[in-house]
Assembly symmetry: C2
Homo-oligomer: 107 residues x 2
Amino acid sequence: MFKYYYKVIYMNNVPEMEILFELADLFKVFGDSTRLRIMYTLFDDEHSVGEIAQALNMEQSTISHQLRVLRTNKLVKIRRDGKQIYYSLDDDHVKKVIEMGLDHVLE
Amino acid sequence: MFKYYYKVIYMNNVPEMEILFELADLFKVFGDSTRLRIMYTLFDDEHSVGEIAQALNMEQSTISHQLRVLRTNKLVKIRRDGKQIYYSLDDDHVKKVIEMGLDHVLE
DNA sequence: TTAACATATGAACGATTATTCATATGTTCA
DNA sequence: TGAACATATGAATAATCGTTCATATGTTAA
């Protein structure tokens, strides 16, 4: 029983703790429906800001703000083409995290 | 929270959309460092509320409040033994979601 | 029963954050 | 050039949420 205490205390003092804070920040990004819908929109293909805004029927600035959050967290990347900026998922982790979450939600 | 569900029904008819809102709610739960640390503490074994509070050096009521959130979202389950209540991870999805997130955080 | 302990809960406070509005920046083409 | 369009950004507002404090509920043992 005291063994447990020791183990827990030990576990939570190591550098892994700092990583858990980073991890929380990452999940925070996934924890917003607008951002999730944006990412879901980008599942199949890249899309411009305007296209996403129209698809989700939301303000352009709202989408832009949230895309910035996604980009800051390296979840999406951009490609400029003339006046438009096309966003796409940055890597496959994004899909995998979402799919893993879906497993839980879909019971 | 209810506002969002309203929007789903009212604005759009894509069935997957409602699931995305549920998914956002799930990720919200993972998006807090205290809850993540609690879950991480339960990775190896069950622990009582007091043990967790001591391990994380946080108020008992804080842990209790957060355990309720985790339990409401079916991420942890309980076992009563006398005065103590022992919490443990509810299923393997929890571990998998966290590990998948770690993959991204650890570059 | 009562005392002691373990956990849960409600209210209040502070901090964070998503959205909107207005405007700025940046790009193309006449 | 400058007009038109696409995107980004800053400030303000409103809503959400984590923590704390005080207290309630529940359990055990005397």
